[in-house]
């Protein structure tokens, strides 16, 4: 993180941005309050890391070193890195490609395509893996690669699509008139403008792959999370598990650092005003069919395959005559939605100061705080869950195993999704606009409410929805932290698949996907609005 910060401060672009900010009157108090809140928020987000530290310090050093230096650890680490790189690359290519088709072309039925492209987010990767194992012979590396890729592509597609909306098309138009091919013009002019958004999505994908155990276990591809789970399962050694988890945390830090380097300073080519310049979308002509087929592939693999598998079990179930009471499924759905909404609000509260600070007052501190909030995402859910058990019992024992602590856990677990959204959205608001408002006599608070928040809100809202969506699917931490006797759709699904009652589990999985489709579709509202706007304008 230190390296990240020094790199950023050396960047000439950043210097230019800070010079731009120096032009505005400084607000020491606002900055102080913001920094203090960001430090507190990042501190809460770093609970899992603190926990790892406490456990490792208390560990039998010889045992930990023996576990870390054996050949098997290296093998698992290599598998993890290979899978992460492969999935991240595939998601980058598929996500940017989809975003371009959805945002820049005259594809028939684009609004529907945007919604369809978001659907994979509604499917937990363990459910998708289950479907693929049930219906196809794909296993091992390729199985894990396919499932994790198709489930995560929208994490790249959506932010890229949003960034394309705000990108200034003038650059690409100029490049085209100067004789550049369409692809080259895109790569040289538009890509640099959407790159930060795309890479932020790729970072979320990569961290998810590091932490995933459900899908890789079902696909029997042995990665680092296997070693961590084996420490719990066969040795009952949470200390060893924590020590092994530090390797994943280190990989997470490396990813966050790499993303910062690649992202560079946010290029403010885009401007809220210029984006309103309407540009005719690319005509696909006969290629429309190919584009449609391409866009269908990912949702089909992520949603279609598991749905088909679940329906097969559901119909097999109907013949044996056992029923799942609809009221139980409904009750679980209700608690799932309520807890996820609570988690999303917690994430928003924690993400606002961190994201605002990172967007408006760049410094080593803001970079470090932002990075710290990301690393927990690289850790398996059971480790994060235990860290919050530890925190809750030590600090607020009265809230232990309450819905409040579970919602808080969701907020901490999926905070990066909201932090990235807040930072990116606020960065998109041109400081010039705020200056104009200020020069017209508006107070700082009024500028924030009427200008900054208004423009940034759709993006921030999308981040919050993403947190809610992910929280609905969360399993390992939920099992540890939920109030005794409370079920969510994910825990019921787990309970029934544990006892191989797949027929009974199918309704829960179907309802979970159905419930998650809600926020997934809402996520696309912004993008759909853009499409409509463009069409009306064209």
């Amino acid at each position: 993180m230190r390296i990240t910060a020094s790199r950023t401060s050396r960047s000439p672009r950043v210097r230019a941005v800070s010079l731009g900010e120096a032009r505005r009157p400084p607000a020491p108090l606002a900055r102080l309050v913001l920094t203090a809140s960001a430090v507190v928020a990042a501190g809460l987000a770093a609970i899992p890391l603190v926990y790892l530290l406490v456990r490792v310090v208390g560990a039998d050093g010889g045992e930990v070193l023996a576990a870390l230096v054996r050949p098997r650890t290296l093998e698992l680490a290599i598998n993890t890195v290979g899978l992460t790189v492969a999935v991240a690359t595939a998601c980058l290519v598929l996500g940017v490609g989809s975003a371009w088709l959805l945002g820049q072309t005259r594809l028939p039925g684009r609004r529907a395509w945007v919604v369809v492209s978001t659907l994979p987010l509604a499917v937990p990767s363990y459910v998708a893996a289950f479907g693929w194992v049930a219906l196809t012979p794909v296993r091992g590396f390729w199985g894990a690669f396919v499932v994790l890729t198709v489930c995560n592509v929208p994490l790249v597609t959506l932010p890229t699509l949003a960034a394309l909306r705000l990108a200034n098309p003038a650059h690409e138009d100029v490049a085209r008139t100067l004789g550049r091919s369409r692809a080259r013009a895109f790569l040289e002019s538009t890509w640099p403008q959407v790159r930060p958004a795309a890479l932020a999505g790729v970072l979320l994908v990569a961290l998810y792959v590091l932490s995933d155990f459900g899908a890789v276990a079902i696909m029997r591809f042995e990665v680092f999370t296997w070693a961590i789970h084996s420490a719990y399962t066969s040795q009952f050694d949470r200390t060893l598990a924590a020590a092994l988890s530090t390797v994943l945390a280190a990989m997470g830090v490396a990813l966050v650092w790499a993303e910062r380097r690649l992202r560079g300073a946010q290029a403010r080519h885009g401007s809220t005003v210029a984006a309103r310049v309407v540009r005719a979308p690319v005509r696909l002509g006969a290629w429309s069919w190919a584009a449609g087929a391409g866009l269908t592939l990912v949702p089909l693999a992520a949603v279609g395959v598991p749905l088909a598998a679940l329906l097969r079990y559901l119909t097999a179930r109907a013949s044996t005559g056992t029923r799942v009471p609809a009221s139980e499924v409904a009750a679980d759905a209700l608690s799932t939605v309520a807890l996820a909404a609570g988690g999303a609000l917690v994430a928003l509260a924690l993400a606002l100061p961190i994201g605002l600070l990172a967007a408006r007052f760049r410094s080593r501190l803001s970079a470090a705080l932002e990075s710290a909030s990301y690393v927990g995402l690289a850790l398996p859910g059971i480790v994060v869950g235990l860290s919050l058990v530890f925190f809750s019992l030590a600090v607020v024992p009265a809230l232990y195993q309450s819905v409040w602590m579970l919602a808080f856990a969701y907020g901490v677990l999926f905070l990066p999704k909201a932090v990235g959204a807040v930072r990116a959205s606020v960065e998109q608001v041109e400081p010039g606009l705020e200056d104009v408002a200020r020069s017209l006599g508006a107070t700082r608070a009024r500028v924030w409410a009427r200008v900054t928040a208004r423009i940034a809100w759709p993006g921030i809202g999308a981040g919050v929805l993403l947190v809610a969506l992910t929280a609905m699917k969360e399993l390992p931490a939920t099992l540890l932290l939920r109030p005794t006797g409370t079920d969510t759709l994910a825990t019921s699904l787990w309970r029934l698949t544990e006892s191989a009652a797949y027929g009974a589990a199918a309704p829960y999985a179907l309802v979970l996907v159905a419930v998650a489709v809600g926020p997934a579709v809402l996520l696309t509202r912004d993008a759909v609005a853009t499409v409509r706007e463009r069409r009306d304008g064209a």
Partner: protein, 352 residues
């Protein structure tokens, strides 16, 4: 534990020096565990952490509540996760009773000094060898290790009578195991105890060389056999019966074969329950553990989960060989808690 650490320090002096500053938590000796109190308090409710599945256990708990009027708050999660959770919670745990899928988790919680000692009447209900040696937990049911085979690929008499034969090239790529599964590891421990370290290592190496397929758990193995992906899977017997209840006779492509008596592949593992130290004076919690080893409790497991009863005088589920036929006189089940060495061996051959 201390001896192992000392040996590790001896063999790795440099590493030991490097970490001399770290002081590992030492487990509380079992002797300091509180004894379940005779003048216990009953408030009509207690909290159970169940590592056993809700589908299987909840009806029994409901029956217990009807019979005794005691309400039970149940927290369901995997046995492994609950053992980790109990260790993390320590004295602050809201749990009064831990119901576990396997003896290893109970041993780990006992070793951490978190269990109260059970009254003699409870711990003596189950034959030694199927329960804890010090009364820190009690065995509840038994589960036999079996071979599930693909009936479309094999006839019953083609299935090997001993797991040792599975290293034969004829089974290349055709056998499924779950190396992280506690029951599988107990079997490997039994193999080490019965046949010696060299045979165990040779067998594991042979299995790896024979392209043994690894799965995260028993159900995944059974599904693979059902799907014809592998011909033989090493699982616990009752998974097959559960699948039978779900899919019906016609849905069962997999069939069961019991290895011959005396084979390491034919051992019996136990599930069990323990009373948390903080609940040593909780009459309700103790009543539940007593219920688990009562006739009613034992019969429930026989009829519903097809497991072996551990209290004498009850019939085994239909179609299963008698527990006595599977009990290996050369094997003391208390030896099976030397799991650390087994995981080391599994790690060495590259299965963990």
């Amino acid at each position: 534990m201390a001896l192992r650490r000392a040996l590790a320090a001896f063999s790795l002096p440099v590493l030991a020096l490097a970490v001399a500053g770290c002081s590992p938590e030492s487990p509380a000796p079992a002797s300091s565990a509180p004894q379940a109190s005779s003048d216990a308090v009953a408030d009509g409710t207690f909290t159970l952490y169940s590592g056993r599945e809700e589908e299987l256990v909840q009806p029994l708990i409901d029956q217990f509540t009807v019979d005794t009027g005691i309400a039970v708050e149940v927290r369901y999660a995997g046995t492994t996760e609950l053992a980790a959770l109990l260790q993390e919670e320590g004295d602050a745990s809201p749990a009064d009773v831990f119901l576990s899928q396997d003896a290893g988790a109970l041993g780990a919680v006992a070793k951490a000094g978190l269990f109260a000692l059970l009254p003699e009447a409870v711990s003596a209900a189950v034959d030694p060898g199927f329960t804890s040696t010090d009364g820190s937990w009690v065995g509840v049911t038994g589960r036999a290790r079996v071979l599930a085979y693909d009936s479309e690929a094999l006839d019953a008499d083609e299935v090997p009578a001993s797991v040792l034969d599975l290293t034969d090239p004829a089974w290349n790529g055709q056998v499924g195991i779950a190396p992280t599964n506690a029951s599988f590891q107990s079997f490997v421990t039994a193999l080490r105890v019965l046949e010696g370290e060299d045979v165990a290592r040779e067998w594991l190496d042979g299995m790896v060389a024979n392209d043994v397929q690894t799965y995260p758990k028993n159900t995944a193995i059974l599904e693979a056999v059902q799907a014809g992906e592998i011909q033989i899977g090493l699982i616990n017997h009752y998974y097959w019966y559960q699948a039978l209840a779900e899919l019906g006779e016609d849905g069962m492509r997999a069939r069961l074969s019991f290895p011959e008596a005396g084979d390491a592949g034919a051992i019996v593992n136990v599930t069990g329950a323990g009373l948390l130290a903080g609940a040593s004076d909780d009459a309700d919690a103790l009543a539940f553990i007593e219920y688990l080893v009562s006739d009613a409790g034992q019969r429930y497991f026989v009829d519903t989960t097809y497991e072996y009863p551990l209290v004498a005088g009850l019939d085994v589920p239909d179609g299963l060989p008698a527990l006595a036929d599977l009990t290996n006189t050369e094997l003391d089940l208390s030896d099976l808690d030397t799991l650390g060495d087994t995981t080391a061996l599994l790690t060495e051959v590259g299965l963990l």
